[in-house]
């Protein structure tokens, strides 16, 4: 009877033995790196309809975050300002700038500016800005150095593991509650001299939830 398989097929088991672990390691490594929100989400920087520069407003001019995102301490959601907020100043400065045409149109027509959302959590994740600010988590802890961004991008992955890293060990991310919007407050430098447990302005200690229904309600 002639051989069904040519002689080289004897090498297949050896090849599988060598290649299968490599392929497995490649798959694990590939998924670990490319499927991670650090790769898929962090760094997301969509083009916005109005070329608003946070670097100019929050950085160079030093405006406080809460001038525009005024609900952040009182509501779950940090408000995106209406065109009226922009026009507080831009009815006086750069009134003819073509870059601001959409803002003026929005002001007169009451049609909202179609901003592209940068930080978006899934619907099944319950997130509230209030307790985070009350606990003394700074804006820059999650949003990065907004004051240096001409176009806003996602600084952190906002993955569940990333949330839990802080919920399980909140101390390094806490700062004095009057420094929340201070972009220059550096946890690595200023944080060394700060101990939340000894802060007299805190009436109770931080106790972030780690159970499922803390965030999935």
């Amino acid at each position: 009877m002639p051989a069904i398989f040519p002689r080289w097929t004897n090498k297949i088991p050896l090849a599988i033995g060598v290649l299968a672990p490599l392929a497995l390691a490649g798959a694990v490594g590939g998924i670990w790196y490319y499927f991670s929100p650090k790769f898929t989400d962090a760094g997301y920087r969509p083009r916005q309809p109005v070329p608003f520069s946070h670097k100019l407003h929050a950085g160079d001019m030093g405006m406080d975050c809460r001038y525009c995102h005024n609900t952040v301490e009182r509501a779950a959601h940090a408000a995106i300002p209406p065109a009226q907020t922009c026009m507080n100043c831009h009815s006086l400065v750069k009134t003819e700038s073509p870059k601001l045409k959409l803002v003026r149109d929005s002001y007169t027509t009451d049609e909202p500016i179609p901003w592209v959302r940068v930080h978006q959590l899934p619907d099944y994740a319950f997130f509230d800005h209030r307790p985070h600010l009350a606990a003394g988590v700074g804006c820059s802890s999650c949003h990065g150095r907004i004051d240096q961004m001409t176009i806003v991008e996602m600084d952190q992955p906002l993955s569940m593991g990333w949330c839990l890293d802080c919920h399980r060990d909140p101390e390094p991310s806490l700062r004095p509650r009057d420094q929340i919007t201070n972009m220059l407050w550096d946890p690595a430098v200023d944080g060394k001299n700060y101990d939340a447990a000894k802060d007299p302005s805190r009436t109770r200690q931080v106790n972030p939830p780690e159970h499922c229904s803390g965030c999935h309600r």
Binding site: M1, I4, F5, N10, W32, F35, S36, P37, K38, P157, S159, M160, G161, W162, L164, D165
Partner: protein
């Protein structure tokens, strides 16, 4: 069978012959391999019926994935409905295969040789059906990998204190070991099929899986060592898998579930239902494929005895549950069992007892345990009874829980029924494919129990090589 209760005896050992009709080695190869090679219209009928039932499963699961588990009859106290009932039912059926292949092998029960291949195949297909149910019961099968300890961006880790997680490992280990054991046993027969193959396609397919088997002494030496090791590995699994399945219930603190008798009771029930399913499959198969001289009445009788033994153990467990419920003096436990007997689901309980405790008692009668037809009918009753056992355990304990305000009655929807029917479609489709392409008897092993295989065998001087002329 005119000479009803007289089996052929081995002239040398004086024990019952495991292969009847004085066949030769070659006759066995022909008897097993020919049905695989020659198209068979009866097979097509069975296959198409099974395939259409599998289609029902496809529709039921498609609609389930689209709509969610709300299409089932689940309600507030009964979150475990037919999906769990069917899971335990199928895992239980999957127990006979490994018992036959591993435990009986270690105990040198040579009568296992002609039934082990089909039983192991049955085991694998039953475990596939079983694995289907927790998968779809979770509601979101696409995130099933959450049940595995894989590092992930959610920092989520399985709860190792949960018996449901133990189940994941117990059943998947069982499946892997059963599959490998089955495959190792198949290799010599695959080589036989390869050598007999007439078409290049068949030659390639059988040749690929035969792994270059030539039947040399060295091959057999390795093979038998591997087979023994697998038997040793698989033996504890026979006990562990259903023990862990019983923990799904026993570890929770619910009257009717929280009992220490559950592990042995579940294992006995599993072997009971598994052997019943083996009979359900093999009784028609041995008639259709004319394998009565290889799967003899003696084999059926032995299996019937195991059914009688395990069925009686199950009956004892039922009685003990009631005794302990009374003896413990725990009013909740007593209520749970009174509720089983006389509550809303009394009909399910009495179906279970009739099928599982009363039916096997017929096996005491020799005429019944030597009648393939009677055994087939009995095995169907056992299958029904064992399904009802899981239904009774799951539903009666849940439907009256600790809060009377949440008590409710559970009834399945058409989608529950379609999924169960469909799982039978999956099972029988796989089994049909098995029967069509693989030797359903272990050819090489059956040859080893022929009288000729005994080193002390002396052929009678005038005996023909094939003994068929005797009859």
């Amino acid at each position: 069978m005119a000479t009803a209760y007289h089996d052929e005896l081995d002239p040398l050992l004086g024990r019952k012959n495991l292969v009847e009709g004085g066949v030769s080695y070659h006759d066995i190869t022909e008897a097993v391999a020919t049905p695989i090679e020659v198209p068979n219209s009866r097979w097509w009928i069975a296959f198409l019926i099974s395939l259409s039932m599998l289609g029902v499963l496809g529709i039921a699961l498609g609609y389930l994935f689209w709509m969610g588990t709300g299409i089932w009859g689940l309600n507030n106290p009964i979150a475990w409905g037919w999906a769990i009932v069917n899971f335990v039912f199928w895992v239980g059926i999957g127990h006979a295969g490994t018992l036959i292949s591993a435990v009986l092998f270690l105990f040198r029960q040579k009568w296992r040789t002609s039934i082990n291949r089909a039983s192991e195949a049955m085991t694998i297909f039953a475990v596939i059906c079983a694995l289907l149910f927790p998968t779809v019961h979770a509601g979101r099968p696409w995130v099933l990998y959450w049940s595995l300890p894989l590092p992930n961006q959610m920092s989520m880790w399985p709860n190792f204190r949960s018996p449901l997680l133990w189940d994941v490992f117990a059943v998947s280990t069982y499946f892997t070991v059963s599959l490998l054991f089955w495959y190792v046993g198949l290799i010599p027969d695959l080589a036989t099929m390869r050598d007999r193959a007439k078409t290049p396609m068949r030659r390639f397919a059988y040749g690929l899986f035969a792994l270059g088997w030539r039947g040399s002494t060295r091959h057999w030496l390795h093979y038998e060592k591997a087979y023994l090791i697998f038997a040793g590995l698989a033996t504890p699994l026979v006990l562990s898998v259903h023990t862990v399945v019983s923990f799904d219930f026993a570890v929770s603190q619910l009257p009717g579930w929280h009992t220490t008798i559950f592990p042995p009771y579940f294992v006995a029930g599993a072997i009971f239902s598994g052997f019943a399913m083996v009979l359900t499959l093999l009784v028609p198969l041995r008639a259709w494929f004319k394998l009565g001289h290889l799967i003899t009445i003696k084999h059926l009788e032995n299996m019937a005895k195991i059914i009688l033994l395990t069925g009686t153990m199950v009956g004892y467990a039922y009685a003990m549950e009631f005794f302990i419920a009374w003896y413990s003096g725990n009013p909740y436990e007593s209520y749970a069992f009174t509720n089983r007997l006389f509550g809303d689901y009394w009909w399910a309980y009495w179906t279970m007892v009739s099928c599982n405790v009363i039916t096997p008692q017929f096996i005491w009668f020799k005429a019944i345990r030597r009648s393939p037809l009677a055994l087939f009918v009995l095995s169907i009753f056992v299958n029904i009874g064992m399904w009802f056992e899981r239904f009774v355990i799951t539903v009666t304990s849940l439907h009256h829980d600790f809060l009377p305000s949440s008590w409710d009655y559970y009834s399945p929807t058409v989608w529950d029924v379609a999924t169960l029917l469909g799982s039978f479609g999956l099972f029988f489709t796989l089994f049909c494919i098995f029967v069509r392409f693989l030797p359903m008897l272990a050819i090489a092993e059956v040859k080893s129990v022929l009288p000729q295989a005994d080193p002390h065998y002396h052929a009678p001087h005038h005996a023909p090589t094939s003994g068929k002329e005797h009859h």
